[in-house]
């Protein structure tokens, strides 16, 4: 039995202009001890998936169809009280803007202490102190700053404190939504290694969301690339990043800046993003697709198997199987 299995999940947001289909027909499985990374454009629905897994969707969100099973249990049908036993204890989340979740009028150390005590009410004073030093060490905040208030921390330090808080309760599944976005590269490096190590030693499942392909590539073995609410390519890290097949994945990789590729960066034009209000079978990337051709017209995208694990959602199977499109 998988730790987590998501099946044909669609989520919409009720807006004034109608239903915005933020997540459209998404399926994936996660085994215990595995790590799965979501990358994709800003606004493609990554956070929405994370929130659905935590039962924290905003009130105007509707689950249109699909299932989320966690340890065999259907999460969608849980009531709020049932959720409380799951959240934090079995599934922990590191939010995208987690540093704002810190209480401004309470020292940071106290808040982490509280998180530990909520899940281990009978922990002894010495154990608690040890655990605290351990956690602060882990995220590289000097222990003397435990008594400081959140506003005295820099953005990065706050985020590190929140990561310590999530790690405090030894969950079975960690959902990390852009946990290192606010961090500098030095700390990011440390934290990513830390998250990976904790995940591997405790065999925790990890759903890791980021817009940064390098970050996802360094943490996760399985990758899902998303565009406009849909998964467009999925496979192992090597398959997706070494031989990307979907034109969007290629665009994404082509525009990634690193210190040694400044000259062959391609800047794609800004295009209108696809209308996610309408339900359509058509290709959503067509408008921005460098490989869109007459071969695509009149066809709907479908899953194309490149290998047993590598799948691509496109309407041009020939191009995908050939592995090289004109781009």
């Amino acid at each position: 039995m998988s730790l987590l299995s998501v099946d044909h999940l669609s989520i919409g947001y009720q807006t004034k202009k109608g239903l915005l289909r933020a997540v459209d027909n998404i399926s994936f499985d996660l085994e215990q001890g595995q790590s799965l990374g979501f990358v994709g454009e800003s606004g493609c629905g990554k956070t929405t998936i994370g929130m659905a897994l935590m039962g924290l969707l905003p009130e105007n969100a509707v689950i249109l169809n699909g299932h989320i099973r966690f340890q065999g249990e259907d999460l969608i049908s849980l009531t709020e009280t049932q959720w409380q036993a799951v959240r934090g204890a079995k599934i922990a989340m590191i939010f995208q803007a987690a540093m704002n979740a810190l209480n401004p009028v309470m020292p940071v150390g106290e808040q982490i202490k509280e998180a530990i005590i909520t899940h281990q009410p009978d922990i002894s004073k010495t154990h608690l102190a040890d655990r605290m030093t351990e956690l602060f060490d882990l995220v590289d905040i000097p222990a003397r700053r435990m008594k400081d208030y959140p506003h005295e921390y820099s953005g990065g330090m706050k985020q590190r404190a929140v990561i310590a808080m999530a790690l405090a309760c030894d969950p079975a599944l960690i959902i990390a939504d852009e946990p290192t976005t606010a961090l500098d590269v030095i700390v990011q490096d440390q934290i990513l290694r830390e998250i990976k190590q904790v995940q591997e030693t405790t065999r925790t499942g990890l759903v890791f969301i980021s817009h940064d392909i390098a970050v996802v590539a360094s943490v996760c073995e399985q990758i899902c690339v998303m565009y406009a609410g849909q998964i467009v390519e999925t496979g192992t890290r090597k398959e997706v990043f070494k031989s990307p097949r979907h034109p969007y994945t290629r665009t994404l990789l082509n525009s990634y800046l690193s210190l040694d590729n400044l000259n062959d960066i391609r800047v794609p034009d800004m295009k209108e993003s696809p209308d996610q209000m309408v339900e359509t079978n058509e290709c959503r990337f067509a408008n921005s697709c460098p490989a869109c051709s007459s071969a695509c017209s009149g066809r709907f995208p479908d899953w194309i198997d490149v290998s047993a694990t590598h799948k691509v959602f496109c309407c041009n199977p020939d191009m995908i199987r050939r592995g090289r499109g004109k781009s």
Binding site: S42, G43, Y149, G155, L183, L257, L259, M270
Partner: protein, 274 residues
Amino acid sequence: MEKAESKNRFLVEMRQVTKAYASRKKLFSRSSQQVLALNSIDLGIEHGEIFGLVGQSGSGKTTTGRLLVKLESPTAGEIFFDQTPISQLKGSRLKAYRSRVQMIFQDPYQSLNPHLSIAETVMEPLIVQKAGTPDTRMEKVIHTLETVGLLPGKAFFNRYPHQLSGGQRQRVAIARAIVLEPQFIVADEPTSMLDATIAIQLFKLLGQIKETFGMTLLFITHNLAAARYMCDRIAVIHDGHIVEVNTADNIIRHPEHPYTKKLIKVQPGFKYTR
């Protein structure tokens, strides 16, 4: 005489600027600890250049930006904008300064008022600086939203911040900063939440805006690759000290300070690139 001439190159200049924050006083203890966020900084930003400020978290990057937009005053030292010491600006001259200098804030989750719609947020600088008429303002807002890639602008301007994704909020924050077409922008990690495709588009866009309006930019980041792509010159800041300033290429190719070398080493390499 010579000195005065060389000064003129600079639109913005920080001289011996120090910023100390008092840590919270502990009850019953006399001594209040101080955090030295900036320690005697000297920095000059030339007209029309994109100047990078690179450093670790907590090194004082945001503090530098906040001092420049006058959200905070230095503990010691002086900041000059166009040869004018900004500590003396008050009243209408301060307001005029605010229309020439803008900041893109680091955290788009905190820098948008949850009770204002996107249009109201982006329009505010126009209203308070009395730029344009109510009709032209709305057009300007939509145009600016589209400039930062929130396409189509009409689909976004009625929404509220909680209805946007992190990256979309960041673009709203950028739109608010450029809507007045200021002379100088402090961009505090403006693309930290954006994927590579949109980030690179925005870099290109900031470059274009810079060209068309003759803007000067302070680009704060911890991503050296982005800094190199964007900037003419880069300063490396470490623990409140500027440890090295050089042209973008030189700083990457021939780093001198050990800290710069360390920074270059930990940049995330993406070994799968093509």
